[in-house]
Every structure is written in C-alpha cells, then in structure tokens.
Amino acid sequence: MAERVLLTSQQMASFVARGFLRFESIVPDDINQQFLDEVGRPPQPGESVRKAYAKLLSASGIPAVPAGTALSDSYPADSAITRLLNLPVVRGAIESLVGPDARFDHHFLHVTFPPEFYEARGLPNVSQHTHQDSTIDPRRAFDIQIMYYPHDVTREMGGTRFVPGTHLRVVSEAAVARYQNIRGQQHVVCPAGTLLVLHHGIWHGGGVNRSDRLRYMFKIRINPTVRQERLWDTSDLPNDHYEQRPIFLIKEAPDPTNVHTILTTPEPWFEADTGRLEYLNRIRMWRFLLGDKRFDADYWLTRIENEPVASTHA
C-alpha cells in the first residue's frame, strides 16, 4: 500500500467543527510547475472571458473524467494530479475523511481573470456570490472538495472566500448570496502548493482578481464509498474521551487541543441561539464518525436526551 499519513483526532475534530483543513505549501514546486504546464498557455486579454475559458479547458492536458469513476483511475499515472493525490499527507487526508476506495465526482479548473479582460469587453469585474456547491444536501455522510492553488495567491488576486463553520447548514446553493460579508470569513492568500480540504457544505465564493495575472484554482470533489466511521488515526483518542467536564463554572481555561473544546468553540458569525445548535450538530457528526452514540461534549446532547423511564411508583 502506498504511504499515507492519516489525520489525527484533533484534525478530524477541527474538520467537523469548521468544515475545512488547510495544508500550506504541501505540494512541491515541481508538481505545481507540471500542473501549470499541463493547464497550458494562458489566454490573452481581448477575447471574451467565456471564450477564453472554453479554449483553455479544451486545450489543457487535464482530462475530462466521467462522474463516479474510482478516484485511483481518474488521472494518468504520471500526471501532476496523480502525483498530488499520492502525496502521503494528501492520501492520508482523503482516506481519513472518505475512505480508502474514494470515488471521483467531478473536477474543474477555476480561473479568475484580471481586470483587463473585463475592461476590454466593458464588463464589470466583481466577486462571485457566496454559495454552497451542488444543491440542498441534508445527508450525514459527506463529500470532500480539494482546492489546489498551484501558484502563490496574493490578497490582490482575490483568493477563494469561505466561511468556517457554515458546512452543517442546510441551505440551497446560491440562496445565501445575499450575505455579502460574514464575520470570520477567510480569503485564501497562500503560497504555491497549498491545499484546502473542505466539507462539501461550506459556504464560499471566488474573490475578485485585481492583479495583472490570472488566478488558478483546481477543485476536485470526492465521494465516500464506505461508511465514514473511524477512518482516521484514532490511536490518540484519550481514555477520558467519553467523560464530561465541568461546564460554565470552570476553574481554568479549556485546553484548545481537546476534542470537546474544538467541538464547542464558536465562530465569530454564530447567532446566540443557533450557535448552540451548531454545537449539537457537530457533536452528532462526531458520534457518526466514532460510530458511538455515547459521546457528548459539555453535556449539550445528554441534557436534551434525558427522558427518564424509571418510576418512583411501584
């Protein structure tokens, strides 16, 4: 079996709570360069963005792959993407989240064009509306999306905007477009070779590119083919993982690396009441991943599941 580095429980809990993992500069430069070579010659200003896009996609060396193909059969063996997917950390992250026999869903080369492409055609250059990919999706099982940044991305280039912690919200694609800005939103400004691994439900959108060069982001959506239960390296789960901690009146600050703490850490955009529902939904997802309904964090589910059946009357 190819080498892989499975995720830790702390990384998995962070994925459950925030909906993403970030791997900075994880892809070596030679793979980044190979990928850009496979993409091919960048389009030139003057033609319409739509035509430039179509020309780029058809000429690129990135294959068109049928949905539902085994991920391991989706790319030529010597391609940049196969080399990327076989990096031990990447392979380990995929296997930890969606299992060993993951399935290819789709991929796309996202290109964000600089202002001169729009100015040449008299079109507005604006950011993409915030949205959730695909369509309304209330499953407990989840897909992942890998976003790959093959070159440095500066703030001026826009970067992908995403909102940590939104992935468990059941919304319908661009119905969230009205939310122009959300507290805690992040913009992916990163060095070449950075990957984001996202839960399929996270709210995101492309940032406006105000630089003088094209911005590339390659996205692959991957499905599980097995139940997503204890697929990561669970050897680091502590013996007290199922025990409750004191809550509200506590004597010392919670350990930020503790899974219970990770699952009950709010995001800046949390509403007062539904922020607590987010905790419940995270805990339920962690139970699903553990395959064990006994787990709770800070008593959130235990309290509302308490319906005693014992009677004091004989």
């Binding site: 209330p138 122009q180 940032g207």
Partner: protein, 108 residues
C-alpha cells in the same frame, strides 16, 4: 418628455426623480435591534459605491440600533416563527435579518 408630463400631473412634491435608494441589510446575533452585527450587505442605488461579496471584514455598524442612529430607516425585520416539528435542530439561513433604507439626493 414623459418625465415632465408625470411631474405636471402629480407635482414635484409627489414624485422626486432626483432621489435614489440605498439599501442596508444587517444580520444580527439575536432578534433584538441592538444585538451585534454578524453579517451584512449593502446596495447603493446612487452608483457612487460598488459593494460586492467579500469586500469588507468589518461591518458598517456594530448593531442595528447604531444604523438607526445614523439615519437609516428600518423597513423590515424577520418575523419569529415556531420551529417546525422534526427540524428543531436544523440550521440553515441566518435568522435575524434587518432591512434598512435611505433615500438620497442625486444630481439631476
């Protein structure tokens, strides 16, 4: 011109063609107007400012009340509805939306 004929019919005090609407949408942390802002959107009918997704990290006001005090007119807020049975724990859209407007003069 049609504009002049309408002015003649209704009078300049009834319809002012030299005003444009600005819209401010604030999403607050709870149903109180003085709760803090967690998300926001702005649309400027004067075209003097272009707002778009991801263009600011800090909201224009810290609360809905702060917007009121700066002259924004509240025109709508989200009603509070009972939770649908079976969906009590489902989270979806931001709950506390407050819609404000301003009418501003523009050069004719």
């Amino acid at each position: 011109m049609l504009r002049d004929r309408i002015r003649d019919a209704f009078g300049n005090n009834r319809i002012d063609f030299m005003k444009r609407q600005k819209v401010l949408v604030l999403y607050l942390a709870d149903s109180a107007l003085d709760a803090h802002v967690i998300a926001w959107a702005q649309y400027d009918g004067t075209a003097k400012a272009e707002h778009m997704a991801g263009d600011a990290e800090e909201p224009p006001y810290m609360s809905g009340l702060a917007a009121l005090r700066d002259g924004w007119r509240l025109i709508q807020m989200t009603p509070m509805l009972p939770h649908a049975p079976g969906a009590e724990f489902t989270t979806a859209y931001l709950k506390y939306e407050f819609l404000f407007e301003q009418w501003v003069d523009v050069d004719g």
